[in-house]
């Protein structure tokens, strides 16, 4: 479970104040709001990529506010996937495990397992260049899931995809949610994405979390 308590984030003239929310284990929450309203800022703060001026972030009962990103156990998928271009797809997915000093057999096993689950096992030996938008996001998902994170943070992962690919990705994310029972915080400005995927929708407006709606 993740709990953001009274977050205050200031960045130049932009500020977010009094941000409070909880996400229960296994919940799929979509954080919505207009472009530039600060959705990604909250996500980055949770991942430890952005400094917060006040407040606390708790994950599974542990205060992770001052923890470095790598020790938080949060999987992060940015909008463009941000794949490592100097590595193959297999190396991208296995990177976090290599950093954690898993042995090669364990890494290969986990990479194959994820690649099959995400439908990208035929891409494993390819470089990270020249992938379609959908393939790129699947690889980014695999990379973020590789080390069994407590929560998955998705930053508008579908916004650059065409309609057909989006539909495939909806199905994939629903499958992952059901199979892995993973907790997800998904930032989006699309009502359709929220209605297809979310257990709960948070809405950010004018620097404050104003509305919380639950899916029936």
């Amino acid at each position: 479970m993740i709990h953001c308590k009274d977050l205050y984030i200031e960045q130049g003239s932009f500020e977010l104040s009094n941000v409070n929310f909880k996400i229960e284990k296994g919940e799929y929450v979509v954080l919505m709001g207009k472009t530039g309203c600060g959705k990604s800022t909250i996500l980055e703060a949770i991942c430890g990529l952005r400094k917060i001026q006040q407040g606390e972030i708790w994950l599974n009962g542990i205060n992770i506010t001052d923890l470095v990103p790598g020790l938080r156990g949060i999987g992060y998928v940015p909008q463009d996937g941000a794949l490592f271009k100097n590595m193959t797809i297999a190396e991208n997915i296995g990177f976090a495990l290599k950093i954690r000093k898993w042995n090669k057999t364990q890494i290969d096993q986990r990479v194959t397992e994820l690649a099959v689950m995400l439908g990208i096992d035929h891409l494993l030996k390819r470089g990270a260049h020249n992938l379609s938008g959908g393939e790129r996001q699947r690889v980014a998902l695999g990379r973020a899931l590789s080390y069994y994170p407590h929560i998955l943070c998705l930053d508008e992962p579908l916004s650059a995809l065409d309609e057909n690919t989006k539909e495939d990705m909806y199905n994939l994310l629903i499958k992952l949610k059901d199979k892995l029972k993973i907790t997800v915080l998904h930032v989006s400005h699309s009502q359709l994405e929220a209605s297809k995927l979310a257990n709960r929708v948070l809405r950010l407006e004018k620097g404050k979390l104003l509305e919380v709606s639950k899916k029936k």
Partner: protein
């Protein structure tokens, strides 16, 4: 059509001028002169010293340019514009002024302290320092642009995957900057090869001691041996052109100066 014709004529004037210079150099000398120049003990020494000092300068420039380029590309701080301008000083300063400034620097108390332990001025060390002062500025500029063009989102993702800053730099950023590093190294080497003004002032122009290839051209010119000066110039042109071709073929096209 007249538009392209006018553009073509204006543009080709400069290209023709560059090529005409090369052709003039070639026509002034002969393979015999070049062979004679290459056989001269002094010129062999100058070639050897140029290769050694340029290579040391290149390595030093890249080693220094990588961290400076990284910090300038990735961090915002109060005096950034000032520091950016400071880093460009060696590019805009007249070469003679750089040499003079280095000479004065080594007359100050800290400079004299260094000199008392290790003689710098008018030695081979001073050649490397004089070359480094200019060449490094080009390497820094290249690395700054290289790192700017690599999206820092990848480093951020690497941090969430368990990397610390150092691992993210080594595993993610540096491999992607390799073409930029090659460009920076090549440019630093080429700049160092052509450096003359600071070397003349700071290192002197002593035969078989502080004589690099531009010094040879100067010394041969000063005794009226134009053929030898042109022959050495052609060797430098060939080396410089080879480096530029390497940069064009293997370097980062967007950062090549």
């Amino acid at each position: 059509m007249p538009f392209y014709l006018v553009m073509g004529v204006i543009g080709s004037t400069y290209i023709i001028l560059i090529l005409a210079m090369m052709v003039a150099d070639f026509s002034y000398t002969s393979p015999g002169h070049i062979w004679e120049a290459l056989a001269s003990r002094e010129i062999q020494y100058a070639i050897k010293l140029s290769l050694i000092t340029c290579t040391i300068t290149m390595v030093l420039s890249v080693v220094v340019a990588i961290p400076i380029g990284y910090f300038m590309a990735r961090f915002e701080f109060r005096l950034k514009k000032f520091l950016d301008a400071v880093l460009d000083i060696p590019i805009v300063l007249p070469p003679l002024v750089i040499g003079l400034s280095l000479l004065i620097l080594f007359q100050t108390a800290p400079g004299q302290f260094i000199e008392s332990h290790l003689r710098i001025t008018y030695t081979v060390y001073s050649i490397v320092i004089a070359q480094f002062m200019v060449a490094c500025a080009f390497a820094v500029r290249t690395m700054h642009v290289t790192f700017m063009q690599i999206n820092n989102r990848q480093e951020q993702v690497a941090l969430t995957l368990g990397c610390n800053q150092q691992q993210s730099f080594i595993h993610i950023l540096l491999p992607q900057a390799k073409n930029g590093i090659l460009t920076a190294a090549s440019l630093a080497w080429a700049r160092a090869l052509g450096e003359f003004g600071p070397i003349l002032i700071f290192s002197g122009a002593t035969r078989m001691r502080t004589e690099v290839l531009p010094t040879t051209v100067f010394l041969e010119m000063s005794v009226g041996n134009i053929e030898a000066a042109v022959a050495v110039s052609l060797i430098m042109i060939a080396a410089g052109f080879a480096v530029l071709m390497v940069v064009r073929m293997f370097g980062d096209k967007t950062t090549a100066l």
